[in-house]
């Protein structure tokens, strides 16, 4: 089957298949993370992000590409976690802007939309690094544009796009030395390739697998009622006389296929495209032998007549929406009146709202003691999404919000939330817990947001972060040979020591980080380290550098027995 036009229905199928492939391979992508530290979560992050997009897409199904892409883009934006997730959301944000308002698009427009997505992603990343998902997306989009000049066949264009993405991915180790050293391709790029593979397979005509369909349909079936509800809400913004398709029509077809002489074989795609000419708000959910249909149509009789060709009709429900709409408007007006009668209680009460990301009850406690109003649970293993931040911001009722992401992979999601937030928000790009704490020490409630941003950002530069964790796989970093399960000591981003003994490794790391300039060291003890071990470290430090002040704090963080703050 040759596709020359891409509409919302086909686009939705492509995205679903892409999401399915990515989710099934999330662990593969996780495994490509360069560091052997347990933050290999690129695949998980991308998959969770895409799932959020797909959920929104399912909620706001539309045969129009513009609307479908907008739904996807919105869902991705809210669900974005991790840097790769944020980049993914930007790729589709740019895409959806490019197809905004369109019913369907040509292969050429599809290619241009991919390119617009790339531009949006490059813009979102402050210092784009080549050899990552960005490069893969860019070169693939450029190929898409070239291919679409000589063919209007979507499948062909997507094939070329996919193959180019694959080729670029294989070249990423040449572009980024750290990938070559470890011997892997870029994880984000690999994630994108899985999505493109899903796109390609959908264009080749592959459907979601049976069990996936069941699950998908089960979810959608529940959603059907919700969808009707939502459409009612959307209708509040319209006038009764504007309703073009007056009857909300729902029914089920029990397919008999060609086994009966006067019945036709059922094709979901043909069925859908035919019904699409008869109304809007179309939903078609096909099972092996049952099809559930929801449509707003002006002539429900014709719809039923058409559907009857494929089998017997069940649970038919037809409602006059013009009549309903008048009721909805009346109810909405009543609701509005009562809402206005109630005084607003959500007036901003805090001049500043401080949000920090941390995991471990001790860490959360320390942040709160330093004046943080909301601690968002998260860190290396679980990156909070843009929406998590938006919820935290909304919960504070502050005039200005300052966010401390405390992890390099969370900075972008936080920045995206700051952009989307109605409350003005500043993100201090803290990439570790010690950086976040140093920034907080510099915070002053009596200073303006700009002044605080400058002072807090400056404070970050004066703290060094050390972390001890265990390797999740064998590898080699520079001169350091690492076996799976070994403890590794990381100073800033570099692995400086490794060994099988926790205390020994921690000691080596700490002494490596301390120099003549060092004024104070804070040892944050994680779940897996004992107070005795922390005290032994403190004693070793005192013996080596008697002038340095030291402090032990219980952080309770998982996976990292020790985190050091060296100032």
């Amino acid at each position: 089957m040759v596709h020359t036009r891409l509409d919302g229905v086909l686009f939705s199928r492509m995205v679903h298949l892409g999401a399915k492939l990515l989710s099934r391979n999330a662990k593969v992508v996780d495994g490509l993370n360069v560091f052997p530290v347990p933050d290999g979560d690129t695949g998980t992050n991308m998959s969770l992000t895409l799932t959020s997009g797909v959920e929104e897409l399912s909620r706001r199904q539309s045969p129009r590409i513009g609307e479908a892409a907008a739904a996807l883009g919105h869902g991705l934006l809210l669900g974005a976690r991790g840097n790769s997730g944020v980049i993914l959301s930007q790729l589709f944000r740019g895409f959806s802007k490019a197809v905004n308002g369109k019913e369907e698009i040509s292969a050429g427009q599809f290619a241009e939309a991919l390119k617009a997505g790339v531009a949006s992603a490059y813009q979102a990343v402050m210092r784009p690094v080549e050899g990552t998902i960005l490069t893969v997306a860019r070169e693939a989009a450029e190929m898409a544009v070239r291919a679409s000049r000589s063919s209007d066949d979507l499948l062909l264009v997507m094939t070329m796009t996919y193959e180019k993405a694959q080729e670029t991915l294989l070249r990423t180790p040449e572009m980024l030395p750290v990938l070559k050293e470890v011997g892997v391709v870029d994880s984000g790029g690999q994630g994108l390739l899985f999505i493109y593979e899903g796109f390609l397979r959908a264009l080749q005509g592959e459907e979601l697998e049976a069990e996936e369909q069941q699950a998908h349909k089960a979810a959608s079936r529940v959603d059907l009622d919700e969808l009707v509800e939502e459409q009612h809400n959307a209708q509040v913004h319209r006038k009764t006389e504007e309703i073009r398709f007056g009857y909300c029509t729902e029914f089920m077809i029990r397919l008999t296929g060609s086994t009966e002489p006067n019945k036709k074989p059922f094709s979901e795609l043909l069925f859908r495209s035919h019904l699409d000419t008869m109304g809007d708000s179309l939903l078609v959910i096909a099972d092996d032998d049952v099809v559930k249909v929801h449509i707003h149509a002006e002539h429900p009789g014709s719809v039923l007549q058409y559907a009857q060709q494929f089998g017997s009709l069940h649970r038919i429900k037809i409602e006059n929406m013009r009549e309903q709409h008048a009721d909805i408007l009346k109810a909405a007006e009543e609701r509005k009146a009562s809402a206005e009668a109630e005084p607003r209680t959500d007036v901003a009460s805090l001049p500043y709202g401080l949000i920090a990301v941390a995991s471990g009850e001790g860490m959360a406690e320390i942040f709160r003691s330093m004046g943080v109003h909301a601690v968002v649970e998260g860190g290396q293993t679980m990156n909070p999404s843009t929406e998590d931040f938006l919820k935290a911001i909304a919960g504070l009722k502050a005039e200005h919000v300052i966010i401390l992401p405390n992890n390099g992979n969370i900075v972008m999601a936080a920045k995206q939330a700051a952009e989307l937030s109605e409350v003005p928000a500043t993100v201090i790009a803290s990439k570790s817990i010690p950086q976040g704490m140093a920034a907080l020490v510099a915070f002053r409630a009596d200073a303006g947001p700009k002044e605080n941003e400058a002072a807090m950002t400056r404070a970050i530069a004066h703290v060094k972060t050390g972390m001890v964790t265990s390797a999740v796989r064998d590898t080699r970093m520079g001169d350091v040979e690492i076996r799976e399960g070994d403890y590794i000591g990381i100073a800033e981003k570099e692995i400086v020591t490794a060994g099988s003994d926790l205390l020994q490794t921690a000691k080596e790391l700490l002494l490596e980080m301390v120099d003549e300039e060092t004024e104070i060291v804070t040892i944050f003890r994680g779940q897996e380290a004992t107070q005795e071990q922390a005290e032994a470290l403190e004693a070793a430090l005192a013996a080596a550098c008697p002038d340095v002040e030291a402090e032990i704090q219980y952080g309770g963080q998982p996976l990292y027995p020790f985190i050091f703050s060296v100032e």
């Binding site: 003691s369 330093m370 104070i520 402090e551």
Partner: protein, 289 residues
């Protein structure tokens, strides 16, 4: 025509210095429960900090009464005659009612004598140093106007920083002002305190640990001094060794023309507790009349 400098005991001037320069001091009071002591008269720093350790509750302080000042003014008039000019430089009005007592006492004197009462907006030896300089200038025969001009310049310009072991004393004594914002963190956060232009205690900055705090203070002082010759005083409560080390470091880093190492007295100690390390710095040229 004599000019006499009068101050209060919270200026932490040693008796020997006062006697040498003819500076008159009115004592504040320190109360341990029922027991009342006259600051610098019936109690000195060693005794005060010894009692502070033994006593469960915190001591309190009280300003001199207007009558205490009237007596002091009268004593000066008796000694120097009715033509004497009195310059009273007293503890920050933002921290104590001492200034108010001195002003009320002045009106009670009903123009019998020329009295100028100045709110130093400072405390401890930061007030003390300008009393010393003013007394020296008076002895050199400078006019009242010249001396007042120098005092104004000093009070506007002098740099003051101090670090306390704990904010508890400032808080309980109600003198914490805008430094309150830095209270109560689980981490060892050292507020670097100063006095704002109105004489209130305020946080200049806050950092992790004493070493950092000292470095931050030195940084601020370098910004002020710009390699010019300076006069400094290092103040402390119960940490003479740290204070001496700090002064040594200052001597290495600055061009110091005059330096004083001074333990703070009972009244100020009541509100800062032991473990205070403070510094004042002023350019030498700013002390010239």
């Amino acid at each position: 025509m004599a000019i006499v400098i009068l101050t209060d005991s919270a200026a932490d001037l040693k008796a020997s210095v006062r006697e040498e320069l003819g500076i008159v001091s009115v004592p504040l009071k320190v109360m341990f429960g029922e027991e009342t002591y006259l600051d610098g008269v019936t109690i000195d720093s060693p005794l005060f900090f010894e009692k502070l350790q033994q006593f469960d509750a915190l001591p309190t302080t009280s300003q001199p009464s207007p009558l205490d000042f009237v007596e002091a003014y009268k004593g000066i008039v008796e000694k120097y005659g009715k033509d004497v000019q009195i310059i009273a430089i007293v503890l920050s009005a933002a921290l104590s009612g001492t200034y108010q007592s001195a002003v009320i006492a002045k009106t009670m004197m009903e123009d019998q004598v020329d009295i100028t009462v100045i709110d130093s907006r400072k405390a401890s030896f930061v007030t003390g140093l300008i009393c010393v300089e003013a007394a020296k200038a008076a002895r050199e025969g400078k006019s009242k106007l010249q001396i007042l001009d120098m005092i104004d310049r000093y009070l506007d310009e002098v740099q003051v920083y101090f670090i306390v072991d704990t904010l508890e004393y400032l808080q309980k004594g109600g003198r914490i002002g805008r430094a309150a914002a830095v209270l109560g963190s689980l981490l060892n956060i050292k507020p670097i305190l100063t006095l704002d232009p109105a004489g209130y205690v305020t946080a200049f900055d806050k950092v992790r640990g004493t070493k950092k705090a000292i470095n931050r203070v030195l940084e601020a002082l370098h910004e002020y001094a710009q390699d010019e010759p300076v006069v400094v005083a290092v103040l402390h409560s119960r940490i003479p060794e740290e204070a001496a080390n700090f002064l040594e470091r200052l001597k290495q880093e600055f061009s110091i023309k005059q330096s004083v190492l001074q333990e703070i007295g009972p009244v100020i100690g009541t509100h800062t507790g032991p473990g205070l390390l403070g510094i004042l710095m002023i350019k030498e040229k700013s002390l010239k009349t």
